[in-house]
Subunit: 173 residues, 2 copies
Amino acid sequence: MKRIAFLLGAVLMVAGVVVSTGPAAGPANEEGAPAYVTSIPPGYRDWKWVSVAHEEGNLNSIGAVLANDVAIKAYREGKLPFPDGSIIAALHYSHTASEENDKVFGQPQSFVAGQPTNIQFMVKDSQKYAATGGWGFGHFSNGKPADAAFMKPCFPCHEQMKARDLVFTRYAP
Amino acid sequence: MKRIAFLLGAVLMVAGVVVSTGPAAGPANEEGAPAYVTSIPPGYRDWKWVSVAHEEGNLNSIGAVLANDVAIKAYREGKLPFPDGSIIAALHYSHTASEENDKVFGQPQSFVAGQPTNIQFMVKDSQKYAATGGWGFGHFSNGKPADAAFMKPCFPCHEQMKARDLVFTRYAP
């Protein structure tokens, strides 16, 4: 249990587009929609680093996954499921060529975190988020949470990673 | 002063190859070689996250830059030069396709941190490392430090980023 993948943002964004344009899209205020995370957990920018990922395709994203102390402990011990209180954050940015780096390298090869695109969270609370595997999902652009329709595909997608308690991202040594 | 690039590892590796094969390469135990970092600063895996980067070309690298509390404070305040005691770490991994992520996406697009390749450090000590701009450079593969010849190009390359106190990587918001 040393590595990690973070589809968090990526899958949500891809699937979100489908949901919001497809015939099966539900209204944002759909009754009975499962609870999701609507406020940004404080202090996440100070959390410990889990891993990085780069998504090509429409996402064109580079990002980092951070985790609070409860989640980092579980990651490092390889213990599943993650205990209540675990929070995992995925910070996404545009995968952007660095002109200043390329100049030093003498060739185009360097990509860095460009404009922030979104921040996503998984909050473990087995009671509150019982309907979505014990995890509350959150997606924030410019500090604002996504609506219920956008959040709908998070759980079914993450459920495919049941063997790792719905968490795609592996811990980088 | 919110962003950052990290050529740390990348440039060292590229330039290191040139130095170790070119006619100007000095012996590893060259007398008068400037001091560099030969032991891994403890606790670096717990430091705060600065940014990510992806290097194409021969490096094929994805990695994260972390910084200790002294350096993070300077980063966030945008104050230069970094004070003595600052340490910046760059953790590099093979830029590796994630089969398990791609399976969920339904297309090849996801790259994650694969095998660790090297860890690099910049340690600020304006006395000890006066000959190299106040920064001691370090490069470790499998926990072992590189030799003096390999380290030689670090300073002249980083010196090109004098405007940011020799630090390429910008802080990701």
